[in-house]
Symmetry: C2
Subunit: 411 residues, 2 copies
């Protein structure tokens, strides 16, 4: 047998490549849809349910990677839209890839850029082909398509990449949602075709469909047929409210394959996370801990601590009693308050560190509760499970880095 023929046969009988990312189910909760698991990626694994802090422009704002890791974060997120415009995905690729660029050797996820185009950019035109918009940085006209989003995400090199989708506002009319779902499905197929590195980067599909059960079901079923390595639920926390979000998750997640990770995009408050975990969601990202942190808003089990408040001026306690984060182990509330008033970077840095650690401790406790078979008790008894937006700030769309119920800016 010639070498050439041997090579041809060998190629034919080669098994299909392992997907870049696999999900390992460790325990399914009996009293709810919650699941304990682990996601394996080319850059290591992470435990689920997982919270991913957001590094919009290639950095978790102000926090060096060793401090990000010290919060217990295992997988982080970066935004395709921002990095594509600046410094450009080719620059990131030439500098190594996103892992090298961000100095984050662990798992990374990039979004498709779509959400930011719809929320941040000066949007010119949406067609079946893609989206044309003006850059928020220099006003230049950019065309983003499924193929282009894939090329950019391939160049960035994250472990998990997202299909390019259309995400209408919650109050869009039903026929817009229908169009968006059909486009999202067509674009998902184009993304699969354009994806150049399925052995190193896992492409997740995104279920759209607003709050309409039939649309959500259609979108989920069609995406599942594409046999993607993971599925996201998009178009939530864009103004539909907490109860609607739970209802949608209640009929979407049971449709999703049990052997793939499920990712709820851009959500949210602790209350939202735990409700979504109950419905079987495994992965979350949100700008809340970092964005609120930069505005002196600290998450604690007893509710928000707004560190600019005069009552903290001489407060020698940590941001939160019992917290083991770097900020709480070393700094007083009084000092952190001073840093905010003095315009010192350390204020935003310290509260960001605390808030990310707060989220990661919460996720770790959720995982422990599922592992111990006491998740239902946990949901009822842990005060963090009811932490949601304050009355001023519920349910509006966050401009920027992911869709989320947002906190109001500090005065």
């Amino acid at each position: 047998m010639s070498l050439c023929l041997y090579a041809a046969i060998s190629a034919t009988i080669r098994p299909p490549p392992m997907p870049a990312v696999t999900y390992e189910l460790l325990r399914a909760d009996r009293a709810s849809g919650a699941r304990l698991g682990r996601v394996h990626t080319p850059h290591g694994q992470f435990d689920t349910p997982a919270f991913m802090p957001v590094g919009t422009q290639g950095t978790i704002k102000g926090v060096l990677p060793d401090h990000v890791a010290a919060t217990g974060s295992q997988c982080i997120l970066a935004n395709t839209y921002h990095l594509m415009l600046r410094p450009g995905e080719k620059v990131v690729a030439d500098l190594g890839d996103l892992h090298r660029f961000m100095a984050w050797p662990g798992p990374i996820l990039t979004d498709s850029g779509g959400f930011q185009v719809f929320s941040l950019a000066d949007l010119n035109k949406i067609t079946d082909d893609g989206v044309t918009f003006k850059s928020h940085i220099d006003g230049s006209v950019v065309h983003l398509t499924p193929a282009r989003s894939m090329q950019v995400q391939n160049d960035l090199g994250a472990d998990i990449i997202m299909a390019f989708d259309e995400c209408p506002p919650a109050d869009a009319p039903l026929d817009y949602h229908m169009t968006a779902v059909e486009r999202t499905l067509r674009w998902a197929r184009l993304c699969i075709d354009a994806h150049a590195r399925p052995d190193r980067q896992a492409l997740f599909g995104i279920v759209q469909g607003g709050t309409d059960q039939r649309l959500r079901e259609r979108c989920a079923e069609q995406l599942i047929r594409m046999d993607l390595p993971g599925y996201a639920i998009g178009g939530l926390a864009v103004g539909e409210g907490f109860d609607s979000m739970r209802i949608v998750l209640g009929f979407v997640t049971p449709l999703l394959p049990a052997d793939k990770p499920r990712y709820l995009m851009g959500v949210g408050y602790p209350r939202d996370l735990v409700a979504a975990v109950r419905e079987g969601v495994d992965m979350f990202d949100c700008v809340l801990p970092t964005r609120n942190g930069r505005n002196a808003y600290a998450f604690t089990a007893r509710g928000a601590v707004r560190l600019r408040n005069a009552k903290y001026q001489r407060d020698t306690g940590p941001i939160e009693d019992g917290c083991d984060c770097y900020a709480c182990r070393h700094f007083t509330r009084g000092a952190i308050r001073h840093y905010f008033f003095a315009g010192e970077m350390l204020g935003p840095v310290l509260v960001s560190v605390h808030n990310i650690r707060f989220y990661q401790r919460f996720m770790a406790d959720i995982r422990r509760a599922i592992a111990g078979g006491v998740f239902d008790d946990f949901c009822r008894s842990d005060p963090r499970c009811s932490l949601g937006p304050t009355e001023e700030g519920s349910g509006f769309r966050v401009q920027g880095s992911g869709n989320a119920t947002a906190s109001p800016p500090e005065p």
Copy 2:
């Protein structure tokens, strides 16, 4: 003998209290005035010659204390003027003291506030009593006297505190320098009288006198009679130029007692530091590494690297080859350049970390050279020993946090 009488006698025969800070001479260089030593303080010791990074408002801007420590910094500086105005020294005291406030358990030095009053504030009046000025924060009228500076520094609680002095510009007429020296001496005595914690905080005197040898000698001799635990040389790097600075150091440092640490305030570039070490100076502080770092100006042995430069866009190298700082071990020049253009805090943070580490490596190598008896060779052969200001930026007065030859702001 009654207990009461015993106590009285015991009080009488008690030896004078150990000064809070002592200097240990480890090796005097044969070929120059350079000395290797160690300063012992109530919060630990530091090796000399030492460089102290500046934490103006109670933080090394953007750098968490663990990263400051990782640069090899052992003693840090904070500014009395800034902390007195905000958050107020009583607030710092109520929060523990400056060590607790800054989360820096090691040695700290505070200046007297005088230099900032003369350079930053809207100065109303200088009298023999003190200085009246308007706060640069809210315009309120503040009166600063030797006694007040001591009270503030006692409340802040640094290990080394500075006498309140008058620092005229280099080009001031001789009679102004004469008046300033007399005032500085009178104020030093008032500071000694007002200093409430000599057992826990060491008060250093400051030699003034411009470039006039007789004035400098008078100032030094009078201060030495006050038997202070350390001496600083002030009024240099305020416009007199590198050669004048060396000449002044050449006649001042030999006058200073060999068993006390010598501190050159607000200096400077590596060239300045090594020249001053040759003249027998032990301690330095300067805002250059952090201020320049925030402006994308990195110190390297080959000269300044200005990280905004287009040529670094795709540069996969570290800021400086062979540097072991956190920034150089983890980040490419290209990524750091991006952070500056994207307005990300991590740019200033990373270059500050590198620059402080650059200075600390330089000081460690100076100490090693003195210890090995090869300091003279080191001065001649190490390229860092000739690093000074670039042509654009030499010799002007830095507004802000210490007097220093400054780098020009980045474009």
